[in-house]
Subunit: 438 residues, 2 copies
């Protein structure tokens, strides 16, 4: 039997047997580039992988040893579909940092918050239902909505996050078209990819709109504790318990490898999410949950988050300084107050996706803006991640990108439109982290 991807992808004998939703499951062509971008000589400003080099591996290892010695037979066994009760209590303690007063009985542990997005969509969305998302929005969530054949309606953001009038218009236009809105998907803190944060006044106004219009809010908050300058902002869920499903994750505040996230939902919804979780996995990984629980018990996790914040702030500074020093004046970008991402606007007429192969050839990678829109918009934008490379590498990557951009601009001045992309590496050869999804 010949296993070469070439043969298999040339000929899919199952193509007419898949579910309709599977037609939407295609590898984005940019994924192919990560086969190249993952090479050490390439500075990847594409990935959303947290830099966990600051984690005390010995402390984590000790926690794992404690788990095995104190609760080994529990850690290796099936657990509750809802998740470990002790961990759910600790999750409520974590959420208290954002003003949330929650009951552990309303928390469902998930396989990373990605699975929480999947389960909430599974529970709520029929094909053709509408999810309102910020423009741009998290590529991994857009992928889930597409997989459930839900349609995305984008609402604009500005420097203060989602624009209330844009939300009102999106709701009105969607309903005027006779479409059903299932929820608003929003990332209020240090937005992925836009880097902006929803202001306190806006949070209250968005909640008022959603109450008045009876629209459920899906508050996705993986970065909320990673602010650089101030204390965590008050979560939307803190001021609205019945109309908000809140999603949290330990992937950015501890480590992604355990895949432990959670959903906090109104009780009736929580019951559906548990049933959906049991159907999807029987139960989230018990060992992972007990490992995270032991880490939270044994270690100064608040202090660890503080050191993560300082490390990421230094990298944010390195990136915005490099952008200011090296980018053409015709580029614009924001200065994020936390999280992982800078959203860069390219000079008019430059296509970020068409430019990507040339950037990777110049040993720098990024995610083109079109990945973050459901409608093909965003070709002039780029998501730059400062979370993973060192400050020195970030500056080097920005310098390489500036060089590629300069060449693009000159190319365009000479020949007009951007040249087409060369052929890409077959995605099936890429075996590394799905970094562009995070």
């Amino acid at each position: 039997m010949d296993h070469s991807p070439a043969r298999s992808t040339r000929l899919d004998s199952y193509v007419d047997r898949y579910a309709a939703r599977t037609a939407g499951m295609t590898a984005s062509e940019i994924r192919a580039l990560f086969a190249v971008a993952s090479r050490p000589e390439v500075v990847s400003l594409a990935g959303g992988m947290p830099n966990i080099s600051g984690l005390p591996l010995d402390v984590v290892a000790d926690s794992l040893t404690d788990v095995m010695s104190s609760r080994g037979s529990v850690a290796l066994q099936y657990g509750s579909g809802q998740g470990d009760p002790q961990l759910r209590e600790q999750i409520c303690e974590v959420m208290r940092l954002e003003g949330i007063d929650a009951h552990p009985d309303d928390v469902v542990v998930t396989v990373g918050s990605q699975q929480a997005v999947d389960l909430v969509t599974r529970v709520f969305c029929d094909p053709g239902d509408v999810v309102i998302c910020e423009a741009p929005s998290y590529v991994g969530a857009l992928g889930v909505f597409k997989a459930y054949q839900a349609d995305v309606v984008h609402a604009e953001m500005d420097a203060d996050g989602l624009v209330p009038d844009a939300l009102r218009q999106a709701i009105a236009a969607t309903r005027a078209a006779g479409r059903r809105i299932k929820f608003l998907y929003t990332i209020p803190n240090f937005h992925n990819p836009a880097g902006v944060t929803l202001s306190a006044a806006r949070r209250a106004e968005i909640l008022d709109i959603c109450r008045a219009e009876d629209v459920l809010v899906l508050e996705d908050n993986p970065y909320g504790l990673l602010g650089f300058d101030a204390e965590p902002m008050r979560a939307m869920r803190a001021d609205e318990a019945e109309g908000v499903i809140y999603l949290g994750s330990f992937s950015k505040t501890f480590a992604p490898g355990f895949r432990v996230g959670w959903a906090l939902a109104p009780h009736a919804v929580r019951e559906k999410l548990v049933l959906a979780q049991e159907s999807a996995t029987l139960c989230p990984p018990t060992f992972s949950q007990l490992a995270v629980s032991a880490y939270l018990t044994d270690h100064d996790w608040r202090g660890q988050i503080k050191s993560f914040r300082e490390m990421y702030r230094e990298r944010r500074d390195a990136m915005v300084t490099a952008l200011g020093d090296l980018m053409p004046a015709t580029c614009t970008w924001n200065v994020p107050a936390g999280g992982f991402y800078v959203w860069l606007q390219l000079p008019e007429g430059i296509d970020a996706k068409a430019m990507l192969p040339r950037a990777v050839t110049a040993r720098v990678a990024y995610v083109p803006g079109t990945a973050f829109y459901s409608d093909g918009f965003g070709s002039r934008f780029v998501r730059l991640s400062f979370c993973y490379p060192t400050p020195e590498r970030i500056r080097e990557g920005v310098a390489r990108l500036a060089g590629v951009l300069q060449a693009e601009v000159e190319l365009r001045e000479t020949f007009g439109a951007t040249a087409p992309s060369p052929g890409l590496v077959p995605r099936s050869r890429y075996d590394g982290p799905a970094t562009d999804l995070t």
Copy 2:
């Protein structure tokens, strides 16, 4: 805010907003009983939890320490959506025990094989599509098919497993009704719940039928290495690579707590499964995968499986001996050659579900047969698990069940039909493993 389940379940303000599939997501009322059945004084013959007390926790702990010291920064980071390459090679080694010659590139690691069933169904099934299943079939798979609004058509089994003529008839009748068959879901080895094994001759015949009728086979094989008397049988996938998706799991041969299972699929299908996995979780838990990989490397896993087989055989013997000694002559059951389950037929007129509350009151629990059919059939059947309790407890549990049965028979002789069930414990109070699903 009042978090009491009573209030919330009385009143679900979201009831008219869920997806159509969510209407099928309801807690089976028997789940409620596990709140009671999980009490120590109850002998649970209901759960499918493996008995992992034989695992050397110190060896497992050492493997985890090795993972942290040698690959800690990898184990705590995001990984490939397809799963760790080294683990996928080891999985191919495990499958070789059943005659499968597979390439690691065609393996997708999943969050237990339950997630593999979920992802395969996600990729193939539209609402109204048909999945052919044995009668009875695994309750957790039936739940997945229902969650994707696929319809189940059952085909009879006998002592040699799925009956070829029954499969032919099921295919013909389904197609005559103009329905689309997406795949045959089968558990060839030590069937859950029926305990039977598909004979070698039948495997060839079933494969011939599926080739001739162009029906994909989903071979679910969590118990194949847990035979009591002979070497593992040759997997169906070993003789048919293009028409079979094979599912495996480490939950019964090592430990369920890491939630590591896998799917081996034709290359084109594998690519869809990876995309579905990335959408569902970004990647399966990296730490879990490296932990399983280290265990397979460091430990005599074949010897461990051998000791599991001996332990489960002793329990199988304890159960069938007790059944022979204590059950009314009007009961019948099979003697499984491996796995976890005995399928018990009750005397005519006895309803296993109606009897369950009385059994639990008598401190013995089981899963009523109706859970394993999509069509309400099976009221006269009971799944008895011998995997978890000790031989002494198994005999005690069978004795209690025999007493309850005797009382039922007498009750019925006196009053006719079985009395209705009393009220059940609210499921939302149950926080233990979803044992009836495994």
